[in-house]
Every structure is written in C-alpha cells, then in structure tokens.
C-alpha cells in the first residue's frame, strides 16, 4: 500500500513545464470569464426567501443577495479572470490571484444560482477542475519551458479530478440502474421526455435516436463506456486527445438532443485532456524562456 501511495504521490507531483500551468490558468480563466459574463446572475435577485434553498457553502445567507451585490461579484469575477488571462501571457505576479478571484466569484454566483430549487451541475466540473490551479502559487508564463513539480501538479490533479467526475457519473448509473441503463428503453424514454420538454435546438436528432432501439442502445453504451473508461487517460497519455474529442462529442450531443447547457464541461475537458495529452515539448532549455 505504501508503495502504491508513493507512486501515486510521485505521479501527481511530478515535474511539468511552466508554460503548461500558464496555459491551464489562461484556459480556465477564459471559461470562468465566459460563465460569469454570459449568465444574468443579477436576475436572481428577485428570488423570495421562501423558495431559497442554499447549499451548505452558502448556508450563512438569509436569502438571495440584492442585485448590486450580485453585479459586484460578477464584475469582480470578470476582472479577476481578465487579469488571469493577461497575466498568463505576460507572466504577471498577480495571475494566480486573478484566477482565485474569478473562481471564487463563480463559486458564490453558481451557488446562488443552484439555491433556487435544483442542483445545477453546469459549473461544477469547471470549479472542481480549477481548484488545483487556484491553489497553485507558482509563477508561470505561456511558452516558459522550465520544468518543476510546482508547475506539473495542478495539471495532473486537474486531470485526476476530471476523470473522477466522469467516473462517478458512470458508476452512479450502474449503481442505481445496473446494465438496464444501457440494455433497456432507458435512452429512448430520456429522449421522449426531452422532445416533450422542447428545450433542445432541434428534435431531429432525438427523434432519430429514439426511433431506433439499436441506435439508442449504442448511444447509451457509448456514453456509459466513455464515463467509465476516461480514467485510462491518467495512465495512457495517447488516449487523452481521443478522450477530449469524446467529451466534446458527448456534450454536443447532449445539447442537440436534450438541450442541456454543458458547453463548459466540453471546454474544460478539451482544455485539460488536450493540454496534458499534447506531445511533450523538447528538452527544457538551460535558461528560462522569456
């Protein structure tokens, strides 16, 4: 057990290039920026206390904050994300702080968004995968090829978190439904309900899948297999780009058939799997880049 733990620790905290951490920060900051800037959080201000159900993290709140507070959080979050993006290119000292501000703003705003009756997972993957990058204090700049454990672990831990999230989603399907999740009319009924909800941009894809027992079973199988197999990306570097493609395909199909807004999941998966799966740069130069 000690040997395994030691190997896991050595893998998680192995060296990585500084530029990769900077690219991770920049990518996460762009996604944070988009999530914070494109949703009308201010409109939550009218939620009455009787319908306010905050998560544990926001249990201190008596009700939905007033619009100016939500707007201030949004502005701060956008500002922090912009600093993190620009700082990753320029190697600014405030890059990590900017990312922390953006992350914290979305954590709180998303928490309030999920306080209105339903647990919303749209921002969860971003917040969880970004947490290691938020913890990291190493200064890095895009293009910087210096190696170091302090540069490598946020990417590796982020990849581990990503894999765990998808794996848990798959395991829960098996736990609560068993193989019937795949080998029953489950997917056809999901698509039936989705068509009835009218949320998807088109019903053509859902109708085509629902109309064929074979296609809908293959879709279920593909989805579940992806969720269960993605941890392979932790040990098989070459699989990462294929997994990134798989994640983007999965969430694009989810949007096309169910109308669910999971584009942030696509971007996060593509970023983390893409960055860690990209061919290693050549030997590090003797002097830091820049």
């Amino acid at each position: 057990v000690t040997g395994v733990a030691r190997r896991v620790d050595a893998w998680l905290f192995a060296d990585g290039p500084a530029g990769r951490l900077a690219a991770l920060r920049a990518g996460l900051a762009v996604i944070l920026l988009l999530r914070i800037a494109t949703w009308p959080f201010v409109e939550l201000a009218g939620a009455p206390p009787s319908l306010f159900r905050p998560p544990l993290l926001l249990a201190w709140a008596q009700g939905m904050p007033p619009a100016p507070v939500l707007a201030a959080l949004q502005v701060a979050g956008v500002g922090g994300a912009v600093v993190a993006v620009a700082g990753s290119w320029r190697g600014w000292r405030g890059t990590a702080a900017g990312l922390r501000v953006g992350w914290f703003a979305l954590l709180v705003l998303g928490g309030f968004k999920t306080s209105t009756g339903k647990i919303l997972h749209n921002d969860v993957l971003l917040l969880l995968v970004a947490f290691p990058a938020v913890l990291a204090s190493a200064r890095a700049r895009i293009g910087d090829r210096r190696p170091g454990s302090g540069f490598g672990w946020p990417v590796r831990v982020g990849l581990t978190v990503l894999s765990l999230v998808y794996l848990l989603s798959g395991v829960q399907k098996l736990r609560h439904s068993g193989l019937a999740w795949v080998f029953s009319d489950n997917m056809r009924w999901i698509l039936h309900d989705a068509i009835g909800s009218g949320m998807a941009p088109t019903t053509a894809v859902a109708t085509a899948l629902m109309g064929s027992a074979l296609l809908s079973t293959l879709a279920s199988l593909g989805l579940l297999a992806f969720e269960l197999v993605i941890p392979v990306a932790l040990v098989w570097r070459r699989a990462r780009l294929a997994m990134a493609f798989g994640a983007v395909t999965l969430h694009s199909l989810t949007w096309l058939t169910l109308g669910l807004d999971y584009w942030a999941w696509s971007l996060v998966a593509a970023l983390v799997l893409g960055l860690s799966g990209w061919p290693r740069p050549g030997s590090p130069p003797a002097r830091p880049a820049g």
Partner: protein, 157 residues
C-alpha cells in the same frame, strides 16, 4: 500587478514551497489529497455539497411512467392553467423542483411559498400543487394523465 516579472524568475533548480515551481508545501499536498478524497466520498455517500456532488446525472432508469410535480394557477374566472414560473423571474424558474419538499413542509412554509408565487403572478387568484402520474405506451407516443393528487392549495387573501 507588476508586468515583465518573468525575467526576474531565477533560472535553474527550483526550491521547495516557493513560487518558482518547486515541490508544493506539505499543506498544499494535504489539501490536494483531502480534496480528492472529498470528491470520492461525496460520490460514495451521495452527498450534495456545492460544488461537490454525488453526480447522479440521469442515473435512474426512465420508463413510460413519469411522476410530475405541477404548479397550476387559477384566475378570477376559475380557469386553471400551468403556472408560468419562467415568467415570474429567474429566481422562480426552478421552484417547481421544490414542490415535493414543500408538500411535506409545514402549512406556514407552504403558505409563504404560495404567497410569493401569487405575488409574482398577479393574474392568479389561487395556486394548486399536484403530484401527477403520466403514462406513455411507447417512446414517442403521447403521455396520458393517469392520476393526479392535489397536495396543497393557497388563495390570494
């Protein structure tokens, strides 16, 4: 924020626990492991603690029988229609998901929620909350109401 600082980052070997890319401090490593364990525990024990989650995304098998909780608005003429929670504002949009909890809550909590829905929908005189069961014979066939049980009602004073 200071620009152009990268050139001042020392070259060569990295130091423990510094911003120069050295091995992270022990506290950071402990936080990383605690975070990973928390993710696994929330999944295993099915705890929802934003942003940690059990990730029960579509985990239950769907069938042709669907239970829906419905909020209906009744106007002055007695006409009953599905309450338009989307029109009430962002803060109300997901409130239909609270109906099962509210059905089991105290009368005072139900009254307060109703009062807020009625305040947001000025055209409604009463609100009815139902637990309905719809059945469809096969995917793609229309869902037919099989049963409907009224859970609670409230009226504008």
């Amino acid at each position: 924020v200071r620009t152009g600082a990268t050139s001042k980052v020392p070259a060569g070997s990295v130091r423990e626990g510094t911003a120069d890319g050295g091995r992270p401090r022990r506290a950071v490593r402990i936080a990383v492991y605690a975070f990973l364990v928390a993710i696994v525990l929330c999944g295993a024990l099915e705890i929802e603690a934003w942003p940690l989650s059990a990730f029960r995304l579509f985990s239950t098998v769907r069938t042709g029988t669907q239970v829906r909780w419905e909020l209906a608005a009744v106007d002055d003429a007695g006409l009953e229609t599905p309450a338009d929670v989307a029109a009430m504002g962002r803060g109300f949009r997901q409130s239909v998901h609270l109906l099962p909890t509210l059905a089991a809550a105290s009368a005072a909590e139900q009254d307060q929620a109703c009062e807020d829905w009625l305040e947001a929908d000025r055209g409604a005189r009463r609100m009815h909350v139902y637990r309905s069961v719809y059945v469809a014979e096969q995917p793609g066939a229309p869902s037919v109401l099989q049963s409907r049980a009224q859970q609670f009602v409230c009226e504008r004073p």
